[in-house]
Symmetry: C2
Subunit: 258 residues, 2 copies
């Protein structure tokens, strides 16, 4: 029996097949707070609640490709361009009852994008908002996460999206020191102070300034551009950029730059 025969004899219908989607946690830092893009549901179930942008995985589409497609569609990012973001597979959620309509297994991704990219997405699309995420400092998985609306009250979240958001924030905190991912939240040239603000927003705790400086510069991931910020009423800070060599991932299964 040849391999071709086996392929013909194989019956895919013998096993029941769930639907598979990708859900995206699109994060940025705005106003000193870590925020995520949420979309208000127009249909049942969970009509009116806020959900992560997502979509079905195409029959001949890889998971990463599906995530990039949804990113382009929902966040209005042209797929070809390089806005300087970060995309990484997060975790797969597949409880049988997580969607009341049918069995849906979702592969969650998280993306880090500069603030202006997501701000533009909110303006362009409808029913979108950039909600600050409130989660106690630390790494406890059983802490409660709240996504805050414009009035500061927690938004109702659809499906199991609270646990997905929580997983994303905790993963991001864990990777802060080992991954160049957080640079994706900043423009190509940035000050060390801006970088520290990003770290503090993600961790939810203040950091020691000289120590932060030393730690980051010792990693040798950054290089000074020689230029300085302008328009300040005080001494302008040096602008740094990420070394080209470090744009590739350093960490395990480290995700990809956009």
């Amino acid at each position: 029996m040849t391999e071709a025969d086996f392929l013909k004899a194989y019956d895919p219908a013998a096993f029941p097949r769930p639907s598979v989607t990708v859900d995206l946690v699109l994060m940025t830092v705005r106003g000193g707070a870590l925020c995520s893009l949420l979309q208000q549901r127009q249909d049942h179930p969970h009509k009116g609640s806020w959900a992560l942008p997502g979509g079905f995985v195409g029959p001949d589409e890889g998971l990463d490709a599906a995530a990039r497609r949804v990113l382009a569609q929902k966040a209005g990012l042209p797929e070809e361009e390089a806005p300087g973001g970060w995309l990484e597979q997060l975790y797969t959620f597949g409880a049988p009852d997580r969607d009341p309509r049918m069995r849906i297994i979702t592969v969650a991704y998280f993306a880090l994008l500069p603030e202006d990219v997501l701000a533009r997405a909110v303006k362009t699309g409808s029913g979108l908002q950039l909600a600050p995420l409130r989660l106690a400092e630390g790494e406890a998985i059983d802490a409660h996460l709240a996504a805050l609306g414009p009035d500061g009250t927690p938004l109702p979240l659809a499906f199991d999206h609270e646990i997905i958001l929580k997983t994303a924030v905790l993963r991001l905190r864990g990777k802060l020191d080992h991954s160049p991912a957080p640079f994706a939240l900043l423009p190509k040239r940035f000050t060390l102070r801006a970088l520290q603000d990003v770290h503090e927003a993600i961790l939810g705790t203040p950091l020691n300034k000289p120590a932060f400086r030393r730690r980051l510069l010792d990693k040798n991931w950054l290089e000074p551009t020689g230029e300085r910020e302008s328009g300040t009423s005080y001494r302008p800070a040096e602008l740094y950029r990420v070394r080209q060599q470090e744009k590739r991932s350093v960490a395990v299964q480290g995700g990809m730059t956009l």
Copy 2:
């Protein structure tokens, strides 16, 4: 329109659905080397190559539940019992061409089990072996991983299982210091020396003994039992056990004890 109407009107067939499986990297430390359970394929494709144990996810079965079921079936572990292992979701692999027969998305898990449990599985099942994994020290994702057969030569691996194994080893290395997972590889009571042997096998590099001792004890995850090992021709070492409180996960999405 009520929510019930929506449920009826929804057409699950509107979206093409891939098959979803779980694949398990079952690891232990034997003879100072990190090993994984591999199963020789009896059918095409990749007949004769070595593959990870796996199985389809049932229509009403959660992902973790599917992983536990496969663990019980393939590794011969009774589902109810508590052999003291560790199970954790690893990563989801879904390249369209990863299986030539059909579109299969697999959610990979990794499990840590005491040596005797997997040794028993090898004896019980057929076409199974416990293969030492050889991977360069460090965290480079582009390094080559080899699974060694009894004669010391690398085994041919089926599908994309080399990258899955590599991901598992790197993830395990990254979690060593932050997670109580490695304790799952040891019996309930163990010496610090045995624990250090496990760490060295996983990292592929020797560790400083006093430093390792203090580091582990300072975490306060362990407590001395007051008993000591016996049958040694030297001073017997204290036997430690994991504090009950630490059996729950400490880390993010930390997996579960078995």
